[in-house]
Amino acid sequence: MSAALPPLVYAYLRDVLFQAASPLVLTFGPDFVLLGAAGDATRVALEPAAAAQALRTLFVGMDVAEPTVLPFVELPGARHAHVHLVPDGAMFHLVLLDASEDLARLRPTQQRAHDAEILGHEKSRALRRLKQARAELESQRQVLVETNTLKDALIATLSHEFRSPLTAVFGYVRLLESAGEQAQGRQLALRAIRRAATHLLALSDNLLEWARDAAGADAVADYAPLDLNRLGADVRELFTGSAADSGIVLDVAVEKPSGEAPLGDTLWVRQILINLVGNALRHAAASRIMVRIGADGGKLHLAVTDDGKGVALDAQERIFDEFNNGAGRGPRGTGLGLAIVRRLARQMGGDALVESTPGHGACFSVSLPALPAAPSTAVVPAARALRGGRALLADDDPAQRELLRMLLQDLGYAVYAVGNANDAVAYALAHAPDLAVIDARMPGLSGNTAAFRLRSQGFQGRVVAVAAQPGAAARDAALAAGADAVCTRPVDSIAFADAVLAGASSRT
């Protein structure tokens, strides 16, 4: 190429380019000993000795016998140079060409491109979150619409449910007023009034229970020895007349308890029986209803069996849902009775079941477990308590830590508590506890970070995050970090027990 140029032009270009490049040339011998320097040191703003030291570090590990070009090397003092290595026998030369002008041209363009791409990524992420938030809002809106519809339906049903027995009461009161001393008429009227009042009592009890649950009030069973004979007598007293008026034989049998007397909340058990018998009377189209009340080793067994039309198979689980309205079993009610049966049973650690062959009647049964001899007001369902195992607890707030420690101990865990996330990670990785309960927001390393580190290092135990605030964002962040379940403060003991013992596994 140079041979093709006129010698004068070649010399001119060489001078111009050389002047523009302002090279600093450092010549080194074996072992990177500086032999000499030539050229312009001002452009790279380094004295040859300082430049030599920087270059020795730069070329650590590199073969100086091989020609090398290293563009845009930042030198001490934030100056940039293109560094060329030129081998020369036992020596080599390092040529530093000032890169400041190239850098000034390139950097803004590169900065803009990178900024734009990072912003684009963040924008995409923000849009994804917005979309997710909108979907959640839409989902919540649909739930609210559904709840509102149910509420309207409930009010309409209640108007009817209250009005019918009240109309009967007024009617029979008028009959009493006009019947004078006729004993037969008075008996008829009184039985009808009792029937209507019984219905109203059950209705109001159910509404109160539903309202308490809807308000989120804690359900605390008031445990006491159950008088099974008294419960049986209540059922007979409340329903014998109604059953007879409907042509239904009501058979109430109280079995003698074997072993110790069962414990339970008398009012709740009574309400369960009223709802089950009332349900059979109203919906079963039966000719006979058998009520069995028994106990075995402290466990309570209730069964209400009818010979009516039964419950369709696909309706047998839904029948315990709120507002299910009998799952097609008969005339509409409030849709609360059986739902409350199951809820109360579960709040006492038991459950409610239905067995039925359509066309051949149904048996609704409730079983409650035996409880310790001196039960406390069992906030945590006894059947799920005392799971045991080793739990790690991390919370920087001593008061909260002690509260959670007590709850975990109540659930049967041996608890090791720490006050920060670093200690939590170290303990969990060293001792592999069955459970880690971690405050999501702690000073320094956050609880979510700790959860992430545990999961990314293969921690297999259950992780429950305790978030400071409710909301999908905090929940999603904790789950994404590796938590299995999330509780929010103030910690509800039942929700905490659910999260610790049986919470949904939402981790991805």
Binding site: D31, F32, A54, R56, T57, L58, F59, V60, G61, M62, D63, T68, V69, L70, P71, F72, V73, E74, H80, A99, L103, L106, R107, Q110, Q111, H114, D115, E117, I118, H121, R125, G444, L445, S446, N448, T449, A451, F452, R453, L454, R455, S456, Q457, G458, A473, A477, A480, A481, G482, T508
Partner: protein
């Protein structure tokens, strides 16, 4: 030139925090401002290892998702690799692993560690813990925060300990 000096290169996509990690490791400083790296910046720091003190010459190479010929010239002579990904941008993890694969053609199977950076923004992370748990089976992985310094010292020290004597 010290006998125990070893060249290690930081490889990763742009904006993952390579320069910030070096600033934290070498000078214990941090700046919120993102200033793109052009070319390469070389720093060094001595690290104590089980085999004695070792000088790490750290090459902070401009971020790219793949090695071009210039980057290949930068990594020549490296004894170890520090792969860097940004936890809030999942594609940068793939880029870091791809860069490692490319670097092997020049360097062979040199020791490497993976730093997943921006731990201080854990709530925004796209990289899942299970992914890192899987990667850990084949590569030392450290979650780091150049902002807080969390995990940084440990990660560099781990690589220093793995470098050939």
């Amino acid at each position: 030139m010290s006998e125990i000096a070893r060249k290690v290169c930081l490889l990763g996509d742009f904006g993952v925090g390579k320069t910030s990690l070096v600033a934290r490791f070498v000078r214990n400083t941090f700046s919120d401002k993102y200033l793109t790296t052009v070319g390469v910046k070389v720093d060094s720091r001595e690290v104590a290892t089980a085999a004695g003190a070792r000088k790490l010459v750290v090459w902070d190479i401009a971020g790219k998702s793949a090695l071009d010929s210039v980057s290949q010239s930068y990594i020549r002579g490296a004894s170890g690799l520090i792969l860097v990904a940004d936890g809030t941008r999942e594609p940068t993890l793939r880029a870091a692993l791809y860069l490692q694969m490319q670097a092997r053609t020049t360097l062979g199977d040199v020791p490497a560690v993976l730093l997943v950076n921006k731990l201080d923004r854990i709530d925004e992370w796209e990289i899942k813990p299970a992914t890192l748990a899987e990667l850990r089976k084949t590569l030392p992985v450290y979650e780091t925060s150049a902002r807080s310094g969390d995990g940084v010292e440990k990660a560099f020290a781990a690589l220093a300990g793995d470098l050939p004597a």
